[in-house]
């Protein structure tokens, strides 16, 4: 059992209080920060590709429906003649590829996670452990979209790295996010300084008022 004095000494030493840590299952803690393997990454990629495929199908459906506004039915036209009312398959494939690049670029550059990564608890980081830059995310997105088989290198790589990771010096790590990614945690009571002279919770301050705000107020 930790005494209150020891607890406060830990806080002074910069130890993160347990209640501020995300709610991770105990078995997941050792995994966090390690490079993910092929299976998790392949499932995440499949989820992303499936999502893009559904968006492409949805786009086709919308275009098909809009076509009836642009070109209403008449005696000569056929409602089921898709070739006249939707783009060609090659165009839709190109559209899907482009959408995939855009999707991966935006999500990797902003949070490091796509929907597939979020589901599988993965995150893409650069060589510094941070989110990839926009250029880096775009380059990686293009590389992954054009050469998806590069992921298979993570099976034999000594560090679970795909071809894209080796070339671009990125990593995909286990990072089981809890909560909404990209949103900073709101100030909590634990963010305020601890000590006998603190004014936390006093009549003059609200509980969620941070130390910085108190400083500005005074």
């Amino acid at each position: 059992m930790t005494t209150f004095r020891e607890y406060r000494e830990d806080l002074d030493r910069g130890v993160t209080p347990a209640h501020t840590l995300p709610a991770l299952p105990s078995y997941a803690v050792p995994l966090q920060g390690n490079r993910a393997g092929f299976v998790s990454r392949a499932i995440a990629a499949c989820i992303d590709v499936l999502l893009i495929f559904l968006v492409v199908l949805g786009t086709v459906a919308v275009i098909w429906m809009v076509s009836f506004i642009v070109q209403p039915l008449n005696a000569q036209s056929d409602a089921l003649n898709l070739q006249q009312r939707v783009p060609r398959v090659a165009v839709m494939i190109l559209y899907g590829y482009g959408l995939n690049v855009l999707y991966w670029t935006v999500f990797w550059a902003t949070s490091g996670r796509t929907v597939g990564n979020l589901v599988m608890g993965l995150r893409v980081v650069n060589r510094k452990g941070e989110h990839p830059s926009w250029v880096g995310a775009f380059t990686r997105a293009v590389f992954c979209t054009v050469f998806p088989i590069g992921l298979a290198w993570s099976i034999v790589s000594g560090a679970n790295r795909s071809v894209q990771d080796v070339v671009l010096r990125t990593s995909v790590i286990y990072d089981w996010v809890v909560g909404i990614p990209g949103l900073r945690r709101s100030p909590t009571w634990s963010d305020t300084p601890a000590g006998p002279d603190v004014t936390i919770g006093s009549r003059d301050t609200t509980p969620l008022q941070t130390a910085a705000e108190q400083g500005e107020a005074t």
């Binding site: 709610a23 299952p25 966090q32 299976v39 998790s40 510094k128 790590i173 009571w189 006998p196």
Partner: protein, 197 residues
């Protein structure tokens, strides 16, 4: 037995004292009697003279000393005198050494009365309530309790899927590593995961 010597004591009548010795004994007895008589007379004289005088002197002192002492006390500052002349630290330390203050307070002091009169609000204002609350939350592991009581089926399924996929990653890695005679993989990545920061 030949050569043995036996000694036998016989009472011998005391010789008659010489005239000089008789005179010395007589003088000693006379002087002793005179000394005893003188001591007795002195004791009687002391009892007869000294005791009444002592009574008179004591009665006089009983009347005079308080008056003189009062007069002296009025003319001097005892506080200053004590402060200047007395080693108060020694006295206090000696008193503290001989006392069990804790026991004294427990027996003599009504702590409840003191607490009843104390300004509890002022005490609470000085207590770091929120760090204390956070300490309690950490100590009882409240997040884990909430997580265990509120985690839904979806969350459990998600964690299970992540765990199984991570297990599959490990399995694939071990199979490949065994086939390629590799002794393990370097999985450390730069940075700190958001889930632990």
């Amino acid at each position: 037995m030949p050569g043995e010597v036996i000694l036998v004591t016989r009472p011998v009548p005391a010789p008659a004292p010489t005239p000089l010795e008789a005179l010395r004994v007589l003088l000693a007895s006379t002087v002793g009697m005179a000394a005893g008589t003188a001591a007795t007379m002195a004791a009687l004289a002391e009892q007869a003279i000294v005791t009444p005088v002592a009574n008179v002197v004591n009665a006089s002192l009983d009347r005079l000393v308080p008056v003189i002492a009062d007069a002296v006390i009025e003319r001097i500052d005892l506080t200053d005198l004590v402060l200047e002349r007395v080693d108060l630290h020694r006295i206090v330390e000696s008193a503290l050494d001989s006392l069990d203050l804790t026991d004294l307070v427990i027996q003599r002091v009504d702590v409840n009365a003191i607490v009843a009169e104390a300004d509890i609000d002022a005490v609470i204002d000085r207590v770091p309530i929120l760090p204390l609350a956070n300490y309690v939350i950490d100590e009882i592991n409240l997040p884990q309790i909430i997580r265990d009581s509120t985690s839904g089926i979806a969350g459990d399924a998600l964690n299970t899927m992540r765990r199984q996929s991570a297990g599959a990653d490990d399995l694939v890695s071990r199979i490949v590593d065994r086939a390629t005679f590799r002794k393990g993989r370097k999985l450390d990545a730069p940075g700190t995961p958001e889930s632990l920061s």
